[in-house]
Symmetry: C2
Subunit: 300 residues, 2 copies
């Protein structure tokens, strides 16, 4: 859509005009530097009935929860801690979703020590819309983990199984705040993001921002159990999206450290390696197939 392209061009232009804006577009959250060397982050996501959830089929608590969770996932993807959130809702007139929606949201906020600092509640004849904006914090000297830092030879990891999220996981997933901080306590990833569009699409975001390529190991990609027996399971793990797991790259010299030093309860799957260019899937047989940003080329 030209609208989004135009917006991104304008957002990029601001990076040169406002030096405090360290990361302003093309990443999971914006990062603004403070004079004391620390920085803070801001991200926003809007969820609409029929697009990001189906109100008629869903507990409103889970909708409120998701609205905050996708934003917390953005903060996790930058390797930061969340601090505050503000909530806006457009409620269908006469509906009674407001209370459970806010309950689900407040519960998750408490779990991740995020203050709900304010809100804007509206009613209308349209479908339910909920917007959350969240801020986060990075201590002095701690850099945000961007998409642009992956280097050739880096090893690629994800924090959990992929695919089939829309059957329920997209409403109940745990934002990977804790995992991101644990990972950073062991090694410093060279790039990180959360998987919302799907592994194939989101990996391409890292490749484009870092100007590199990648190979993924077909037998390394973790597939959600609920879809594992399906004939197109790998396809779905690559393309379904809304997994909200972390996708990260780590220098080869750090990769072993990371796997051997992770505390229990944090999963990490080694799925591939950064290369100079291209994006391919390698089978145990040695066969290679190209991965496109929208999924991968079907050749069966």
């Amino acid at each position: 859509m030209t609208g989004e392209f135009e917006l991104i061009a304008k957002l990029r232009q601001q990076l040169s005009e406002f030096p405090a804006l360290k990361v302003g577009v093309g990443d999971d959250a914006a990062v603004i530097a403070r004079a004391d060397g620390s920085s803070w982050l801001i991200a926003t996501d809007m969820l609409m009935d029929g697009i990001h959830f189906e109100l008629a089929k869903t507990d409103p608590r889970l909708i409120g929860r998701k609205a905050l969770a996708v934003n917390l996932s953005d903060i996790a993807a930058m390797g930061a801690r969340p601090s505050t959130a503000v909530i806006s809702v457009a409620l269908p007139k006469g509906s009674n979703v407001a209370d459970p929606l806010h309950e689900g949201l407040f519960e998750l906020a408490a779990e991740f020590e995020t203050v709900i600092a304010g809100g804007d509640t509206n009613a209308w004849d349209g479908p339910l819309v909920i917007n959350v904006a969240v801020t986060g914090e990075l201590a002095a000297g701690v850099e945000p983990l961007q998409r642009s830092g992956a280097g050739i030879g880096d090893q690629i990891f994800v924090t959990g199984p992929l695919g089939g999220s829309l059957a329920g996981h997209h409403l109940t997933f745990i934002p990977r705040i804790r995992e991101a901080l644990v990972i950073r306590s062991v090694v410093e990833p060279t790039a990180m993001m959360d998987i919302s569009d799907g592994l194939a699409a989101d990996l391409h975001h890292i490749l484009r921002e870092s100007n590199v390529g990648a190979v993924l190991y077909s037998d390394g990609i973790p597939i959600r159990e609920s879809i594992r027996s399906e004939p197109n399971a790998l396809d779905r793990a690559m393309g379904d999206g809304e997994d909200f797991e972390l996708l990260l790259t780590v220098a080869a010299s750090d990769a072993k450290d990371l796997v051997s030093n992770l505390p229990e309860g944090v999963d990490l799957f080694h799925i591939g390696e950064i290369t100079a260019s291209g994006c391919e899937l390698i089978y145990p047989t040695g066969t290679r197939r190209e991965i496109s940003p929208t999924g991968w080329e079907h050749q069966f």
Copy 2:
């Protein structure tokens, strides 16, 4: 609506749980204290087609502009400077409003040195929805201007004419950032807010938060020229809303200073005085009528 009530109760509860949250609900923006004595603010507003604007009849540039302007007005109401904003939009599928909408928004952002730090662009079959969250700054030692500080004997002012805003002013108003800072450079208001619900309703917000009453002078209330000749002009100035002028109270000893020291270009209308209780309109004849939160009691 019970939903909003429940939300406000929960928001208030957080004030005791998170001491850094200086102002968390019941004001124009939330205020969060920093360790260095400065503080930062966050506010959010969602605008929906058919409620806050009519897309079919309105230049999308003005819709984008308004979405930011109402948020800047919230920051102005706290006596602060804006710093960043994030934008979310739900665009009607196939519409081409995104570019002009963002243009209007970016123009206003540049005018008030506000960085657009990020956004979330979506498309759907529903009506246009736009949400902006904005952050602001208060230097160390500078307190936010809240609704709760009005004291008996304080004088009440507004920064511009009221009523009839929905004919156009609500799309083109200038957020009173500059005026708020100029006022603060002369005197420290005891309470301040922006007029969005209408003078009568918003004055009651100050009265309730400050636990005081007020009298307004019928001949002191500035009425927008476009409605001045209408028979119910004063009624409309009290109740129409979406004026986005500042409503402020100033200690009686400061009021003269304020009026005599204002630089040219900042308007200030003296409309009344804070009392112990009640809320009345006084006519030049001495007649008094009660003002209700939803407007005022019609007795003609």
